[in-house]
Symmetry: C2
DNA sequence: ATTAAAAATGCAACTTTGTTGCAAAAGTAT
DNA sequence: ATACTTTTGCAACAAAGTTGCATTTTTAAT
């Protein structure tokens, strides 16, 4: 898994495990509460940053100043850049944010002069577990 | 303008003016640098919160922990809830975030069991002023 | 216009979040 | 096993956001 040319360390393994075990996207804080006793806060910040850069995780925008992170699919890791074309869903009830891997972001036509590089779509509502 | 059943105060007028004068979405910090000498930081926080609740402004999600705010159109204010169906664009060059009022967010089909309440689309790239 | 009630503001103190430099420790490759 | 590189933890900060309360400003009613 960690043949992305970076050292295999205990903290990285642990954080990766946390992501693998999670069924939803995680904020820095979520990870901190799970392992702040074992690893330093700073290490978590740096690890998330590193994972992002290597395309191991991607981040999900939010309006609550809690950027969340989720594992990327294989394509991101092997090609080195993101293929994040899926919609994210945030449940107003349980608060969980998930990747809807099967829902592609539809195309949009930008006005003349605008060039698109990335696109992000986040839907709020009630998830299937909550109703 | 401020017939949304809230007191007309100097700070609110000032902050509203800042939005009216801006050609892009503003983060808390942007507003603070423009008027921190006149009004307290806390007041700015509370004013943005109030404006949000009254539908005077809407917020734009981000991955950089800098939620930005922009004025709503009339419909939001008169009906009391958001009609924010437009795409937001963030320029990687100049860093400005703008509302593309003419670009509607296309429909998406969510998986069974999911109910949509709000939808948000943010596109990154190069804006027309930068190229 | 005055005044009483309600709402908003400023201040202080505090909590949380995020950053940086550097020495120690752990990982990698020979 | 050793030398080199990378990562980690610590400490010290800086920045961002929150809360309670006394004071001031708005509002609405007389």
């Amino acid at each position: 898994m960690k043949n992305s040319a970076l050292s295999v360390t205990a903290s990285r393994k642990r954080i990766l495990d946390i992501f693998l075990a999670a069924d939803n996207a995680l904020a820095h804080q979520d990870i901190e509460t799970k392992c702040a006793d074992q690893y330093d806060r700073v290490t978590i910040y740096r690890t998330l940053q590193t994972f992002l850069e290597r395309g191991i995780i991607h981040n999900i925008p939010s309006t609550d100043n809690m950027v969340r992170y989720a594992l990327c699919n294989e394509a991101c890791i092997t090609t080195g850049h993101h293929h994040d074309n899926h919609v994210h869903f945030r449940c107003d009830q349980c608060g969980k944010t998930v990747c809807l891997d099967d829902v592609n972001i539809p195309a949009v036509n930008l006005p003349k002069g605008y060039t698109m590089k990335e696109i992000n779509m986040v839907v709020n509502g009630i998830c299937k577990s909550c109703k």
